[in-house]
């Protein structure tokens, strides 16, 4: 590949490092990964931001409100992939869904898939692990979102929503449902929006990603091969649930953790365990749970967390079995 040649040229010719040295190996890894990931991020975030201008919040609601039971869960999980929501939007979004008559199960499918399968995670997976692992990640995330939503829907837990939800709906009814629809942008405006969003996202995540790649590069160059096999390899049955637990408090930078995880896998962490860690970091986020507490009674919230944690753990085990 051209990129690898470029990284080799910089490391071994320009910097004069020896390919067999720890430092040479780490620097080469760092340069190669940084260039590759920044190119991928720029191209793909632009494409995704552009597509996303066609899916404003009211369209998401409209797509989901007309659905039947199971197709609703599938549609919600799919829509969740391309529609990220800032965790601060969780409450208005949730109430908007209930108001539009989106079934509770479908709402949960969306709430699970949206953070679990986020676009930056997909881009990084693609860049560092290739399309097979990326496809596996997306498909298992979708299955978790669909099944998790169906279970919650079947349990008929509408009574487990906080009174706050119904009070707000009453208030909105009295106000005559002032549902806002922002005007559709023109093609040129879409281009500008996508360009600005790309710049913005890059500005926010680049530093974290570079730091993560640097740590990953250090692990790559200095940590002995197979170092992690004993703790996080196939043989340790407890590794998956421990990885899920570790993932819960780690939240803000799913993007930053993936380059790290790629280095951990290289040093012997089993792939299923790594996927479970990644899913736990992205989907089980403490701040989001605190926000969701405003609309869900503790029992529903606990059920939501439990279903997620169990399905992520099972996914981890399954992949450890398949990808030996």
């Amino acid at each position: 590949m051209v990129l690898q040649e470029l990284a080799d040229y910089i490391t071994y010719k320009l910097l004069g490092l020896a390919p067999s040295s720890h430092l040479g190996s780490a620097v080469n890894f760092f340069i190669y990964d940084t260039i590759k990931i920044l190119i991928l991020l720029t191209v793909l975030i632009f494409a995704i931001s552009f597509i996303r201008t066609y899916i404003p919040p009211h369209k998401v609601r409209e797509t989901l409100e007309k659905r039947h039971k199971y197709t609703g869960n599938i549609a919600a999980a799919l829509v969740g992939i391309i529609t990220p929501f800032c965790s601060c939007s969780a409450v208005p979004l949730f109430i908007g869904f209930v108001e539009a008559g989106v079934p509770l199960g479908a709402t949960f499918s969306f709430l699970i898939s949206s953070p679990l399968i986020n676009e930056i995670a997909i881009i990084l997976l693609l860049g560092l692990f290739g399309w097979e692992i990326t496809a596996i990640y997306i498909i298992s995330g979708l299955i978790i979102a669909i099944i998790g939503g169906i279970i919650i829907g079947e349990l008929r837990l509408e009574n487990q929503l906080e009174d706050y939800v119904y009070e707000t709906l009453e208030k909105l009814k009295k106000l005559g449902n002032p549902n806002i629809e922002t005007p559709d942008p023109t093609l040129k405006e879409r281009y500008i929006i996508a360009k600005n969003e790309t710049k913005d996202i890059l500005r926010r995540v680049t530093l974290y990603i570079i730091i993560a790649i640097a740590i990953g590069a250090w692990i790559h160059g200095y940590v002995p091969q197979d170092f992690l096999i004993k703790y996080a390899g196939q043989g340790n049955f407890l590794a998956v649930p421990v990885a899920v637990l570790i993932g819960v408090p780690l939240y803000s930078n799913a993007a930053g953790t993936i380059p790290l995880i790629s280095a951990l896998i290289e040093k012997g962490m089993a792939i299923g365990t790594a996927l479970a860690l990644m899913m736990s970091i992205t989907a089980l986020s403490l701040p989001e749970m605190i926000i969701l507490r405003k609309v869900m009674k503790p029992r529903l919230l606990a059920l939501f967390i439990t279903i997620l944690a169990i399905s992520i753990t099972i996914t981890g085990y399954i992949f450890n079995l398949i990808l030996r």
Partner: protein, 76 residues
Amino acid sequence: MKLRIYGVGCANCEILEKNTKEAIEELGIEAEMEKIDDIDAILESGITALPALAIDGEIKVMGRIASKEEIKNLLS
């Protein structure tokens, strides 16, 4: 001109606020900026995704960050 920023203090809401401030400054216009961070007030205005920006009572941006340039266009 009256501007309202809706947000509950997450990073995205702060970026939208910062971009709006810069847009006002660079255009050198008279504008009153108000920040709405009460979730009930936000819901009652019909907003379903944050952050959001309203200009003279009309919601122009919802559920995403508008850049400084875009806000400048909206304001002029």
